[in-house]
Amino acid sequence: MAVELDVFVGNTTIMDEEVYQLWLDGYTVNDAVKVRMEGGVLEECEASADVLLSDTMDQYRTFHMCERLLHSPTKLANQLLFQIPPHRQAILIERYYAFDDAFVREVLGKKLSKGTKKDLDDISAKTSVTLKSCRRQFDNFKRVFKVVEELKGPLVENIRQHFLLSDKLARDYAAIVFFANNRFETGKRKLQYLTFQDFAFCAGQLINNWTVGAVGKAHTFSCIDNLVDDMDVDLDKEFLQELKELKILITDKDLLDQHKSLVCTALRGKTKAFNEMEANFKNLSRGLVNIAAKLTNTKDVRDFFIDLVEKFIEPCRSDRWTAADMRLYLTHYTNSAHILDTFKHQVVWDRYMGVIKSCIFKMYHD
């Protein structure tokens, strides 16, 4: 005796969140049944393994049929095939677009191309995320990237509107898109200690402050409706050009000394790492200003994070600065520049250092 056909269709589509997660995680039906059995659903409901298998198959089929709709979530809301209550739809979408931090960390900053897709088996082996799940996540990145690439207006808002994601997830996707677009290097060994969330935070800072869209936002920050014509995805070329002007802080000897003494005066007695700060000031300052000055080169943009780590974070770490030291130092370093009378680029400096400061704060950990 064999079951030739076995279906169950509810007027309201029945979806079990546990099974959905197993499906998203790329489990086969049989593996999913095993997991569920271990989970103890059976005892709870006096059911048998057959029942579980049948239920799992039904659900997998349903998810499979829904997947097409999940690719363009706005369709899910006005399609007629499945009657799914709105809060369930939101869950379906949110989970479908959720990703594993371990996976995204591997792909972050890479080109979302066929080439990368071919490497997914390696990534799958390395992260122990199933290949199926890797593919889904990768395709999600790619899909979001493709859609927003052609859209104008604020990146996060676009993602949220087209994919109906939560604010948090939309921001994460914005980060992924931003990284993929600018091809930031994140895979180097020195950057391994950074999590996706560290990068996502930094991406948020860059998007909000260094892109063309950011300029508009700076003025009408509260008014999201103000659609800026340019994209959030590319850094503001004009701004990058202006950053070159900051070089004066390290090329002009007087200015450099003046800056140093201002910072040291402010810091003296406030931290145990004062001596190291004083000794390293010129190095550190050169590091930061050089990063700024080089950002007109695409190649150097890609190395932005590695440069931050090498030129600034690592020296500080080897001097055993605490996070509080870092905060103190960067605050005074930034503010002191305002007191330098011959330094005329206050606006650019603030725009640059505001981002650098928050990125470094975020990145300065073990």
Binding site: M1, A2, V3, E4, L5, D6, V7, F8, V9, G10, N11, T12, T13, I14, M15, E17, V41, E44, C45, E46, A47, S48, D50, V51, L52, S54, D55, M57, D58, R61, T62, H64, M65, T74, K75, A77, N78, Q79, L80, L81, F82, Q83, P85, P86, H87, R88, A90, I91, E94, R95, R160, Q161, L164, L165, S166, D167, K168, L169
Partner: protein, 1013 residues
């Protein structure tokens, strides 16, 4: 020129890509009615075309309006080659022809293609202007309302019930016409869909004419079926009950309108009772004869054989003059067929119930030569109905209620079946005026149990006692019926689904030999099914069955029998005796030990079931119970004709008439197996109940959680040499496993009850068994039911009203305490009733709260389930404001109501037939994937039609046909589905008057305003 039909094509969305090069589509639309076709402009290069067409006007006869569907075809324009069809929408415009139903059809319809399924949606606007007085047109019957619901529709009052209407139309099946060899599968499927749509329209119109002739204005309990007879043709037939309905003004829904699902004796349809004649063994007469080309074997299954061997005579025979024992002759007896397809009735309608009557007949199909003269099929049904009528008479009844007809076809053999419940009705309703009233008005809650026949002339052996409720009238020991339990009936404990399942192998044969073999098997099958039912009933310590439905399905090498019913303990009937096991070979010690073990198991099971179903009848005070009535031996007098075989069978009489306990003899392995199978039925897991009637006896406090579902399973038998026993086991397991699956899937709804479980079995191919189930899971409030049953295990319905008054308030308190959401919030929102799931997703909801989107809006909502919903109440509220939903939520249920809501308008009948075919079965996920998406598509199309009519729910939904043919080797499959139901608008129950069964929080604190779309 009685009517003008106007259609406007507004827009399309989600169209498929038809041009690979551009990834776009150049779509246009053809709108066709009758022979007139209009076209829209081509809307180039878009998947979301905005045609915004002019009004296309069709000037047509109202006869055509009734018969024809509006056909909308979406095509892709192609400059160089033929235009490609994207898909079609058929819209039945009948609902627009009745002033009380819908006035406009407007909405998004799925564009359906029989090969590809749903391909996008189209927005259409349709209106009808009728010019003349409808009744002057004799060929049309515009204005007659049709209802699938088998009770007087809520929000109407039955001024008069006229009685039975039937009609059938036949045609050649396009699939079997010569042209089918040269046309595409798509063309063939579309021809078939269109033909069936036309035939249904014609059928409905003809029935409407009959109703008008009778002076009625509506058909209730409309049951339409297709017989796909293959080579010999296509039959569409329908039966129903003609009524004159008055619309209740909205202010006074309470009278006898049955506007709520409750048990409140006043409002819901009155009951009818039933009593089973079924303990009597099957007496069968097989009369076979040749009628011209038609071979016919008639197998009456009840006591009386109807017309005996004169079987074919019946047609225009006029009123039957047979034994009329009943003194009260009513109008009914002058009617040809005093049948009623209703299963529940207005108060006072049903007086007594006699028992189940059924008849089956085996026919050989022959090509229908002249579609305009469907006489043969008419004659067949006529015969069967005469038989039913005479069975009813034998039970001292003048009417048959809960009447239904069905067929099972395999190749050229067709089994026609009809069944119903013999009853005595109050003549007042038939005449519309008060005629003779019955002298003694029996107490309302037990009257229907009282025997309608003369106790000295009992048609079958039964033990009569005085009614345990009123102590004045006689009642039988067991009662079987095909109707729903009368709401005022007093029950002890809860009811449960009882099924008898049976497989019988038969030799493969052709023609008459085959038909004879089948008709010989039928009586045995009925007998065994009844035995099983009786045993299972006793095992659960119950004494009555409601909603009994016996299906016998024929395949090439086997017959399947499935009897489903809802068992209850009627307080008015005596307590059932136990089951006693006896061995045939007393000498064998082993055996005796074995018997003792079995006996113990049985006793344990009975005890366990009593507890499970809370059956603890009040202690009897012996002196009140009248002495048993002398066993009426004279019964044989009434048996007019016996065949030889029936005499033999009567020896096997299930003689609970004489003994306290039911004795099962174990004399061979078969018997052991039988007992074994008796004990292997699983009871539902804690928190679940199940029944096949509208409502579960013993549960009164429904909340508004509703989940309708359809499930289909097909098993392939792979053992070459199966025995009857082996098959039985497989079949039983199949049904049991299905139930287990339901319980598992719906576990989040606990406490809940599966209502109206409707099983349909078929043998689509030699080694396949197909079981299709449609049912609805409904939540109820557990605490209340417990309280209730503890308080008063045996009270009758009328008192309950008062008791329940206090509950709603408590409920609010409960729900808010359990999840800290003020319940007042919930009430306002109530959009969809997905409550059962809501509690599991709160974290995600947190995330969602942050976003502001506009997708969903204003779905019509009805009601909300109390408990788990409270939880998500405020979330839902957010969604309502954030999401503007363009898709109306449409609830579906096989019941005639939705708990917690009130139906304010019936929009018309939904009767849809779809064919789906694939030549890429593997790619669609095999047969399961194929059928899964097809069923989902059918649901979607039903919902879209209802929403376009302005409705938000389908009641009395049923899937009447699900025929699946597959050929995995060719990677092909085809499936036909027929569904029907009543489109309605319902609003949350806001009546201040207590509805005992609808204790949703909504009613205490909400405004129903959001119910309107």
């Amino acid at each position: 020129m009685p009517g003008k039909l106007k259609a406007k094509i507004v827009a399309g969305r989600h169209l498929p890509v038809m041009d690979r090069a551009s990834d776009l589509t150049d779509a246009f639309v053809e709108v066709k009615f009758g022979n007139t076709t209009f076209k829209t402009d081509v809307y180039p290069k878009s998947l979301n075309p905005q045609w915004n067409s002019e009004w296309f006007k069709f000037e047509v006869d109202d006869e055509d309006l009734q018969d024809e569907p509006l056909q909308i075809t979406v095509l892709d324009h192609d400059t160089y080659s033929a235009n490609d069809a994207i898909g079609k929408v058929y819209i039945d415009i009948d609902p627009l022809l009745c002033s009380e139903a819908a006035s406009v059809i407007s909405g998004w319809f799925p564009i359906y293609d029989t090969i590809h399924g749903i391909r996008g949606e189209i927005n259409v606007l349709i209106k009808v202007e009728l010019f003349n007085d409808l009744n002057r047109f004799r060929q049309s019957s515009c204005g007659v309302k049709f209802f699938c619901t088998t009770s007087i529709p809520r929000c109407y009052r039955a001024a008069m019930v006229h009685g039975f209407v039937e009609e059938l139309v036949v045609n050649e099946d396009p699939e079997y016409q010569w042209i089918d060899r040269i046309r595409t599968p798509r063309a063939s499927n579309e021809a078939r869909q269109r033909l069936i749509s036309l035939m249904s329209g014609e059928l409905q119109r003809k029935i409407g004419l009959k109703v008008l002739e009778m002076g009625g204005n509506a058909v209730v309990g409309y049951l339409q079926c297709f017989d796909l007879e293959g080579e010999s043709g296509l039959v569409v037939r329908a039966i129903g009950t003609a009524c004159t309905l008055d619309k209740l003004t909205s202010g006074t829904p309470a009278s006898n309108a049955c506007n709520s699902p409750s048990k409140d004796g006043k409002e819901s349809p009155l009951a009818h009772g039933c009593r089973s004649t079924h303990n009597s063994p099957v007496h069968s007469t097989c009369s076979s004869q040749r009628l011209s080309q038609n071979f016919s074997v008639s197998v009456p299954t009840l006591i009386f054989t109807g017309m005996g061997s004169g079987g074919s005579a019946g047609k225009e025979a006029g009123p039957l003059k047979t034994l009329l024992r009943q003194q009260t002759q009513t109008a009914l007896e002058q009617r040809e067929f005093p049948f009623f397809t209703l299963t529940s009735f207005p108060p006072g309608f049903l007086v007594h119930v006699g028992g189940v009557v059924s008849a089956r007949s085996v026919k050989l199909l022959d090509r229908i030569h002249n579609p305009d003269e469907p006489e043969t099929r008419d004659a067949w049904w006529e015969e069967i109905r005469q038989e039913i009528k005479s069975h009813a008479k034998a039970l001292g009844c003048h009417a048959v209620v809960g009447y239904s007809e069905s067929t099972s076809i395999c190749e050229e053999v067709c089994i026609l079946s009809a069944s119903g419940t013999a009853a005595i009705l109050n003549p007042r309703y038939i005449w519309g005026t008060l005629l003779a009233r019955f002298e003694e008005q029996s107490p309302p809650s037990c009257g229907f149990c009282h025997i309608p026949y003369d106790e000295l002339n009992m048609p079958f052996p039964a033990q009569l006692t005085y009614c345990y409720h009123c102590r004045r009238q006689k009642v039988p020991d067991v009662l079987f019926t095909t109707i729903d339990m009368p709401p005022e009936a007093a029950v002890t404990g809860k009811g449960c689904l009882i099924q008898a399942r049976l497989c019988r192998l038969k030799k493969k044969a052709q023609g008459e030999v085959n038909a004879t073999a089948i008709s010989n098997l039928l009586p045995f099958m009925e007998y065994e099914l009844h035995t099983q039912l009786m045993n299972k009933l006793k095992l659960r310590s119950m004494n009555a069955l409601f909603g009994l439905h016996i299906q016998i399905s024929v395949g090439e090498n086997m017959l399947l029998g499935l009897a489903s019913a809802t068992g209850v303990y009627l307080t008015a009937l005596p307590a059932p005796g136990g089951i006693q096991i006896a061995g045939k070979t007393p000498g064998d010690l082993n055996n005796e030990h074995h018997i003792l073990t079995i006996q113990k198991r049985i006793n344990d099971t009975i005890a366990k079931n009593k507890e499970l179903y809370q059956i603890n009848p009040p202690e009897l005070t012996e002196e009140l119970v009248g002495s048993p009535i002398p066993e009426p031996r004279q019964r044989s007098r009434l048996l007019r004709s016996h065949s030889e075989s029936s005499d033999e069978l009567s020896e096997l009489d299930l003689s609970h008439g004489k003994k306290d306990a039911f004795v099962l003899e174990i004399d061979d392995t078969d018997a052991v197996e039988d007992i074994h199978s008796l004990l292997t039925d699983n009871s539902p897991p804690t928190g679940f109940y199940s029944c096949n009637t509208e409502l579960m006896p013993g549960i009164y406090n429904w909340t508004s959680g509703v989940q309708m579902f359809t499930s289909v399973r097909v098993f392939r038998l792979i053992h070459a040499n199966l025995t009857n026993q082996g098959l039985n086991k497989i079949f039983t397991d199949l049904c049991e496993n299905l139930l287990k699956s339901f319980y598992f899937k719906l576990r989040s709804m606990i406490p809940c009850c599966l209502c109206h479980l409707n099983f349909t079995v078929a043998v689509p191919e030699e080694e396949l068994i197909q079981v299709a189930v449609t049912a609805v899971a409904m939540t109820f409030d557990k605490d209340h039911s417990q309280e209730k049953s503890a308080d008063k295990p045996t009270t009758k319905g009328c008192n309950e009203t008062e008791e329940q008054l206090q509950f709603p308030l408590e409920l609010c308190a409960d729900s808010s305490s359990s999840n800290n959401q003020p319940s007042s919030k919930i009430s306002g929102t109530a959009s969809v009733d997905y409550g059962s799931f809501a509690d599991r997703c709160s974290t995600w909801l947190e995330l969602l709260r942050l976003k502001a989107h506009t997708i969903r809006r204003g779905s019509v909502k009805t009601s909300r389930r109390t408990q788990s919903l409270a939880h998500s109440g405020d979330h839902t509220h957010k969604y309502r404001t954030q999401f503007h939903n363009s898709v109306t939520v449409v609830k579906m249920t096989p019941l005639s109501f939705l708990p917690g809501t009130r139906i304010i308008k019936y929009l018309g009948i939904i009767n849809m037939f779809f064919i789906r075919e694939t030549t890429s079965l593997r790619e669609e996920g095999g047969v399961s994937g194929f059928l899964h998406s097809f069923i989902a598509e059918v649901f979607a199309m039903v919902r879209a039609h209802v929403a376009a009519l302005g409705g938000n729910a389908v009641v009395s939904y049923s899937m009447k046909e699900c025929v699946l043919m597959e050929n995995p080797n060719k990677n092909q499959a085809q499936c036909l589905i027929n569904v029907s139901g009543d489109a309605v608008i319902c609003v949350k129950e806001t009546d201040q008057e207590p509805m005992p069964s609808t204790t949703n929080t909504g009613q205490t604190c909400s405004s129903g305003a959001d119910g309107a779309t």
